[in-house]
């Protein structure tokens, strides 16, 4: 307890629960002043910090979302490319297979044709040689026959 409280104490002891006096307007003024002080010290700065953070969070979120979308787009693009490349290689393999196949067929056909031709030629040669051998044999036989006939005729004479 301080002495100035005693000094300031007023004499007439009124009172009661509903004792309205100058406390009311002074308290109102005090609250208004407090409002301004708290606005300057508390509500404005803290509000600024909180809202700056909210902005920061929302922009970062938006950025992150954008990046995610970009990544997804790139991913689909790359997948597309991969698919295309796969299709391309498959086609290449198929083409190569077909080409080798046709080459093989061609080579086979040529080889068969060649062998056929050489076989045919050989057969023809054999035939002609047999023919000539036969004609020679025939000539020889005729000559021999003539000779035999001549000798026999001469003997009988």
């Amino acid at each position: 307890m301080t002495s100035w409280l005693l000094l300031a104490e007023a004499g007439a002891p009124e009172g009661g629960l509903f004792d309205l006096d100058a406390t009311l307007p002074l308290m109102a003024v005090q609250i208004v002043i407090l409002t301004f002080i708290l606005n300057a010290l508390f509500f404005r700065p803290v509000g600024r910090v909180v809202e700056e953070r909210e902005d920061y969070i929302s922009t970062s979120r938006a950025e992150a979302k954008q990046k995610l979308a970009q990544v997804e787009r790139l991913e689909t693009e790359l997948k597309e490319q991969l698919k295309e490349a796969r299709l391309h290689t498959q086609k290449l393999i198929l083409d190569a297979e077909q080409e080798s196949d046709s080459l093989y067929r061609d080579a086979l056909a040529t080889a068969t044709a060649e062998s056929n031709a050489s076989r045919e030629q050989a057969r023809r040669e054999i035939d002609s040689q047999r023919e000539s051998a036969m004609t020679q044999l025939q000539g020889d036989a005729d000559q021999l026959g003539d000779l035999i006939v001549d000798r026999l005729l001469a003997a009988t004479k």
Partner: protein, 242 residues
């Protein structure tokens, strides 16, 4: 007015006694101002400590202040609406914080250790002058809010939805501050009296539940006062959909 005749053998409860200070021709209740200065000092100390270095990554007291700010913003935005809540956030916030700290200060600070020549320290909100001051400020605030936002179209509010409402709306302007002030005053005073009476009758353990209930009531009353104040302002700035 006389003090309530509490005839308890060992209770000396002082109700309705004040520490009078003379200020010119006016008398004021010194104990109310003393405790309100303590309350305001505590509030300002908290605020100054918490806002000394504000950063994007809050630390220590800044967390508490941001929580309070967020809470008050949600309250005002819900009651006043997106368009006008920003102007009234400091006022509603100050009402809430002042009443809340007053109520809890009245319940938690051991005021009885400080003896005054007359009257006793307690929650500033347990004095009718404080609560009427707060309630009248709310009345002024919602009149100002309505008039500044809508001009004289504000008075359309009195005849909406039908002109039959006019007398009721006028009466409401009187009952609003009345109910605001008496609700707060009655709750806080009653709570202090209950705790004091119980403490005088049975000084141990028994008053504890009443004290906890008092803390709860105190917080609720601060919330009610702030919410209603915001609601009244919201009602005044509300634009009818034509």
């Amino acid at each position: 007015m006389v003090a309530l005749p509490l005839v308890l053998p060992f209770a000396e409860l002082e109700v309705g006694q004040h520490l009078y200070w003379q200020l010119g021709n006016f008398k004021i209740h010194g104990q109310v101002f003393l405790s309100s200065w303590v309350v305001i000092g505590a509030l300002l100390a908290l605020v100054v400590a918490g806002t000394r270095k504000l950063s994007r990554d809050p630390q220590g007291t800044q967390n508490l202040l941001e929580f309070l700010w967020d809470y008050i913003r949600d309250l005002t935005r819900e009651q006043i609406g997106e368009k006008a809540y920003r102007d009234w956030l400091p006022f509603i916030g100050t009402l809430f914080l002042f009443i809340f700290v007053s109520n809890w200060g009245g319940a938690l600070v051991p005021w009885k250790l400080i003896h005054l020549p007359s009257g006793e320290l307690g929650a500033p909100t347990a004095d009718i002058n404080t609560t009427i001051a707060l309630a009248l400020l709310v009345s002024l605030a919602y009149f100002y809010a309505g008039l500044s936002r809508k001009g004289f179209r504000y008075f359309e509010y009195y005849v909406e939805p039908t002109p039959i409402m006019l007398p009721f709306k006028i009466v409401e302007d009187f009952t609003k501050p009345l109910s605001l002030s008496f609700r707060l005053f009655g709750n806080i005073l009653a709570d202090e009296l209950v705790v004091a009476v119980l403490a005088f009758l049975v000084p141990l353990v028994v008053p504890l539940p009443a004290m906890f209930l008092g803390l709860f009531t105190s917080a609720i009353q601060a919330l009610i006062f702030a919410t209603l104040a915001a609601y009244y302002i919201g009602e005044a700035v509300h634009e009818e959909q034509h």
